[in-house]
């Protein structure tokens, strides 16, 4: 990722044009935004932003199907619990590159960190939407900390980890802004930051599972386990691997025209390398889940409707992608690896939804179904994340082969 330091643009207007408008005249830039994809994005935001306003104007009851029996709904299950798992690519790739010395993955590191950083920002936004009195969020740190609460540990870890991710991503932003001295200063902190990041991630990924350790009567026995923290931690690694494979594939495809082909990134090699890890992690995860079942002794629940659903999650969304990853590595089949990655991410999503929503309160006759406004708000948050990701990747040196616009003729 080598870039020369060029002279700064000579005026504020030129800086704005170069940095923000991709070197185009403002009017040309705005016209370039009128793409079908952006129209879809605009439609989503047009539907979702009013819902957000309504949520804060009229309260949770006005926009959601949250109830006295279902205090946690789509926002917790998706934006918070799943969001954290899907943002795990940041720490897994950083660990692979800096702790295990696997330099092969360096080209996808910055994008993985950005995905992680934006993922956690979205988690925070989702939390602010879901909390009854979100302006009191700092109370847990400064006012009356509940040190026995799992949420206390999650709160601190996520807070510190957001700072870590910002510091991990900062070099890319500083390079973009041309602040090289600050950038060099940060470079010296890398190993410590990465180690801190992996430690914090281990803690809060597992603690999201710990939330449900106190709910044995409410969570279906096939999903309940005192080992939920371990399950959540291991599956977060798989989710991170799957997300990095998926995101690197989509980014390279979407930004293909803007990347320097001579940068010679071995994306296939990276994908297959990650697939190797994915196969192993998923296989291990399958077996520890099985051990959890053995520990609970509830084999009698397998031949039930819930058992079939559990079997589907385990066989189709955990064991199958493990085998597909292994096959992909053996046959050097990158497309198969990407399919496995999609199944893996889906599997973690389904698992998080099962634990926090679907298999939760499984004895209750009334099921919770998210209201349309809830879905729109979640969709809006994800869309915002994608838009910001795209904006940053289009401008800052995140993808390998990123061409500085000053080089464009």
């Amino acid at each position: 990722m080598s870039e020369q330091v060029l002279a700064r643009p000579d005026s504020a207007a030129a800086w704005v044009r170069e940095k923000l408008f991709l070197g185009l005249e403002p009017r040309t830039y705005v016209r370039s935004l009128l793409t079908p994809a952006n129209l879809v994005i605009a439609a989503i935001l047009a539907a979702g932003l009013p819902c957000l306003v309504l949520r804060f104007a009229k309260g949770l009851g006005a926009v959601s199907n949250l109830s006295q029996s279902y205090p946690w709904g789509l926002w917790v299950a998706f934006d918070v619990v799943s969001g954290v798992a899907l943002a795990a690519g940041g720490y897994t790739v950083a660990c692979a590159v800096f702790v295990f010395g696997q330099k092969l993955y360096l080209p996808v590191l910055r994008a993985a960190i950005l995905t992680g950083f934006l993922g956690y920002v979205l988690v925070l936004l989702g939390l602010l939407v879901d909390l009854g009195q979100p302006w009191r969020l700092p109370y847990q740190f400064f006012l009356t900390p509940g040190t026995t609460a799992v949420m206390y540990e999650v709160g601190w870890c996520v807070f510190l980890y957001l700072i870590v991710l910002a510091l991990e991503f900062a070099p890319a932003a500083l390079e973009w802004l041309g602040l090289d001295r600050l950038r060099k200063l940060l470079g010296g902190l890398t190993t410590g930051i990465i180690v801190l990041g992996v430690t914090l991630s281990t803690l809060h990924q597992s603690s999201l599972g710990a939330f449900f350790v106190m709910t044995p009567g409410k969570l279906h026995p096939l999903w309940y386990s005192p080992f939920l923290p371990v399950f959540f931690f291991i599956s977060s690694i798989a989710a991170g691997i799957g997300m990095v494979i998926f995101e690197s594939w989509v980014s390279h495809h979407a930004f293909d025209s803007r990347l320097d082909r001579k940068a010679h990134v071995d994306l296939d090699g990276i994908t297959l390398g990650l697939s190797k890890a994915g196969a192993i992690v998923l296989f291990a995860y399958f077996f520890i889940r099985l051990q959890g079942l053995a520990a609970s002794g509830r084999w009698d629940l397998l031949p039930t409707g819930w058992g079939a659903w559990w079997g589907f999650e385990m066989l189709v969304l955990v064991l199958l992608p493990s085998f597909l990853f292994a096959a992909a590595v053996r046959r050097l089949d990158v497309r198969l690896a990407r399919a496995a990655a999609v199944l893996t991410v889906l599997g973690v999503l389904v698992n998080r939804f099962n634990v926090s929503l679907i298999a939760f309160n499984w004895t209750l006759p009334n099921r919770y179904v998210p209201a349309l406004a809830e879905v729109l708000i979640s969709l809006t948050l994800v869309t915002l994340g994608v838009v910001i990701f795209r904006w940053i990747v289009g401008r800052m040196p995140v993808l390998p082969g990123h061409v500085d616009l000053r080089h464009h003729s």
Partner: protein, 298 residues
Amino acid sequence: MPLDRRKLLKLAAAAGATAALPGPGGARAALSRPSKDARAVLVDTTNCVGCRSCEMACSEANKLPEPASDVDFESARATGPNQFTVVNKGAVKSPAGDDRFAKTQCMHCVEPACAAGCVVRALEKTENGPVIYHANRCLGCRYCMVACPFGVPKYEYGKAAPIVRKCTFCAERQAAGKPPACVEACPNEALVFGSRAELLVEAKKRVYANPGKYVPHIYGEEEAGGTSWLYISDVPLESLRLPGLIEQRSYPEMAERALSGVPFVITLWPPFLVGLWAMSKRRKAPGAGPRTEEEHHE
């Protein structure tokens, strides 16, 4: 040696920073040690006639809307943000053919899951028994609702600044030496107020002195590790619309176990990871001296 002084200082800083994080204490340690005199209520449902005076007294004492004067006992009612206690009819009649009723409200557990799980200590177990709620701390995460095995806390979803609502065990009245409003209102001595230790003895006395009358179980003795509201009856307690599937052990203890790994991760991960890092560096350039890490970039 692969670790130069700079690396070591950074490692120490990272480990120190994470170790210095306010760690989660034992989940039970922060809960008040219950005083030997902690208050409880014994609910003898053989004396309850379903008059619902307790519901009326509760709403009056807590300035809540008055409950409906007539209820259809066929369907079970739940407490709500504006009703802290409800009386439900059991599905099974007594051996003598009478209807059986049971009052439900917050159980004021000896080791409450809600208080252990509250990130801002809005729910707090007092040493005299009541689990009280500080509305000015609550940020509305609703984890107490997730954690409570009895499904007690209720939320004001309709408000712009919502809070959690539940039975307070009339903590203020108790502090003034008075019994809870519901206990005072009960005309038939279905509710007996006293110290938990003494009431457990009383409950056992009634059960053992009347073999064949009472079902030999005191609901609340071991449920959730013990609650302040104890129920005895001559019909199966599950038939009284009392929450089932309650573990006979402390819920905060489960969370404490789940969190017990945290201090180990905080102190062991950093040296373990740095060790791996040092090993991977040495493998890449055997025999090379310590390098600066600027070479890692680009």
